[in-house]
Symmetry: C2
Subunit: 432 residues, 2 copies
């Protein structure tokens, strides 16, 4: 049974605060292992990759090669059935079109006193894309990570993906081909992250690493951060559905379960002003769970982390939603358009009854890499901005320098940085 809260009940605030504070992640202590793996890859390069892959993936890279060949990708493309490939292409086109709108504009201008200022955006030169192996090896995630990099103008997009027992998901290779991934290596885990950050004989280093992974991958990304950039460390996925009474309970139940089936630590929350609807949704969840292939996983998530919150009025849900700051927020109501204006913290909002969150996972066009665990309060989903960086430009002539110098010198002296003051003053009085 999921948690059930009533906003009008005594003690709601304490219960809600405790709910918000619930940790959904088991933090495995893998840091020592990861430190050693990184050190060995830095020292031994390819040889370390070969050894770890033999041990962890039961695969001899000295026979297969570390790189996945173009011919292998060709074969994967041929192997994928036509409908799925068409769906991947459709998703790729929609994601590309949306992300093309995100490219930031350079800004170069002269201010009223003649100082030239500017902000210039350039692409990160090389990006590593980590793709998990096994059941979490999602072609949609390859598109969601590679497309913004490609749109940004990243020249080298380097994918690493473990191939346990030599198996690679042909759909993942197909997605990589569509998205313009430039190199693919069959390595995974902390060793792949180390190779991307520091390079080996075969893998040239990158400047930034993105993509999801298990506890070892996350720990490795944290460790190499600084040497390279990393994306956010994603936590378990979550959805918040805010629904009025005028909904088909089976639709809402399906949406809650789509989230819950990801992971036993995923979270599905329903807020409604209709207690009757809440009951109906709960019954529907049980009914649909029975026929869901990943029902056991979904049931655990719903039981341990699911929640239903009853409010007297949907307006009361706004502050709760802003505190939850959900990764995914569905507004299953008539006037979603006005309601969303009041929502401040959410990774992505799905407006109206005909926009299930799953559309955003695949073909909506927006990115499905979104801030989890309340981090939508301070961060954004993956976008083109994650693959570009800004350089400030400043240009003064002698006249502008004379104009700005007194204030710069005054502040430098106030901060006891006389060398700073001197570097300005010396240009005013070159003979000094």
């Amino acid at each position: 049974m999921p948690l059930r809260l009533d906003r009008s009940a005594t003690g709601f605030e304490a219960d809600f605060a405790a709910f918000l504070a619930t940790k959904r992640e088991v933090s495995e202590d893998v840091d020592t292992v990861v430190r050693d793996i990184i050190a060995r890859v830095r020292e031994e390069g390819d040889a370390a990759l070969i050894d770890y892959t033999r041990r962890f993936d039961r695969l001899d890279l000295s026979k297969t090669g570390i790189a996945v060949s173009e011919a292998e990708v060709d074969a994967a493309m041929a192997e994928v059935d036509a409908d799925t490939l068409a769906a991947l292409r459709f998703a790729h086109e929609r994601i590309t079109a949306h992300h093309a709108r995100q490219m930031p504009q350079d800004d170069r201008y002269v201010d009223p006193v003649g100082v030239e200022l500017g902000s210039r955006w350039t692409a990160v030169e090389a990006v590593g894309l980590y793709v998990p192996g096994g059941t979490a090896s999602y072609p949609s995630s390859v598109l969601m990570n590679a497309v913004p990099a490609r749109v940004a103008g990243v020249e080298r997009i380097v994918m690493t993906v473990p191939s346990p027992d030599g198996q690679l998901n042909p759909l993942v290779l197909a997605a990589a081909r569509l998205a313009g991934v430039s190199e693919i290596y069959r390595v995974g885990g902390a060793q792949a992250v180390a190779a991307l950050a520091y390079g080996t004989e075969t893998i040239a280093p990158v400047a930034k690493i993105v993509g999801p992974g298990n506890a070892y991958v996350a720990a490795a990304k944290r460790r190499v951060f600084g040497t390279v950039g990393i994306d956010m460390i994603a936590g378990p996925s979550e959805v918040l559905v805010i629904a009025d009474g005028n909904n088909d309970p089976s639709w809402l139940a399906a949406d809650l379960l789509a989230q819950a089936e990801h992971d036993a630590a995923a979270q599905s929350i329903l807020i409604t002003d209709d207690a009757g609807l809440a009951d109906a949704v709960e019954a529907e969840v049980e009914r649909q769970l029975a026929r869901l292939p990943r029902g056991e996983m979904a049931a655990a998530s719903w039981r341990d982390f699911g929640a239903i919150i009853i409010v007297a009025d949907l307006a009361d849900a706004v502050p709760l939603a802003n505190r939850i700051a959900a990764e995914h927020l569905e507004l299953a109501m008539d006037d979603a358009e006005n309601y969303v204006e009041k929502i401040r913290n959410a990774g992505a909002v799905f407006l109206g009854r005909h926009t299930p969150e799953v559309i955003g996972d695949y073909v909506g066009g927006s990115n499905h890499v979104l801030p989890t665990a309340r981090s939508a309060r301070f961060s954004s989903g993956l976008s083109v901005l994650d693959f570009v960086k800004r350089t400030s430009l400043l240009k003064l002539g002698p006249e502008q320098l004379r104009l700005l110098a007194p204030a710069a010198i005054a502040l430098a002296r106030a901060e006891n940085l006389d060398g700073h003051a001197a570097s300005v003053a010396i240009r005013l009085n070159p003979e000094s």
Copy 2:
């Protein structure tokens, strides 16, 4: 003596690679101490702040209060001399004008098939600004951190600053007042970071923490990351000057020393195609060092981390500069405008002989919080973007859902996420 490299010498590549790999930071192992401090602040709140401040800052907060009062800030404003206050105001205006151009635009549109998509930017609700005490307590840094937050629309800007023996820098308080800081607390160190992240009776928690600090502050920021957002952990500052032969060596020497005086771990690098100029600059550095109040610091930095690289042609400096990816890059040459087009990795570029980097520290208008330690390869200086976050919006009607559904269902099934497929399918066939 600084390192001296000649690009045409045998072994240059190995020497340059070793130079790039030089670590300039001593990583103090403070993590255990910091963990305990954070745990105690979470548990005991204000009482822990009072105890730590008594111990570390020799100040009794139970007498002074944790908050700095408006009257204290008024008094500080009155205490600052008129010229310095005018300089602060001048800087504040220029920084505000530049950052106002950085506010990203919302984007809402309907695509060719009628799907509504959008990117909506909202300000982070509350931001913590850490300001160091003692000699590193810079009013200019208060402006550089607070102004972009203010421009972004952050409602609560909460400043913490330690006051060793009860001393607060009046200029720091004045800068806070000018920049619109909403609350100021006289606490520092890991305990201040913990209070900002988790809150105490007096200090309400924030969603993001920015600002420089010592090893304890940096370790605390790393630890609370996830609960709140943080900015980059800044390393020692650095400047790269690329100069043709037609420069006054005393100007270049002054610029190199302005950087070197920051910190013994700061770094100043000169690349030139004129070995004679290099010699003259080196002699000038020695001459100016003698009269610099922070000469000992600057001398240590120049001796341990300074470098002069001779190239046959300034074009040869481009790939070196892009690998160095300096925080600050000065182009002391005639045609800086064309040269900068080839520069890809740099935090900020200062064009021409009349744009010393120090102008950017104070009054240029651009931000002086910039990526250090080669991180300009993958990250940007502080900007308004660091204080806003983007929410994706997606809205389909029944017709759009029918159009996108087949591809979404195909991909969901290909990923073995039948619950995902069901959440789309159930809307096509409600009676199922």
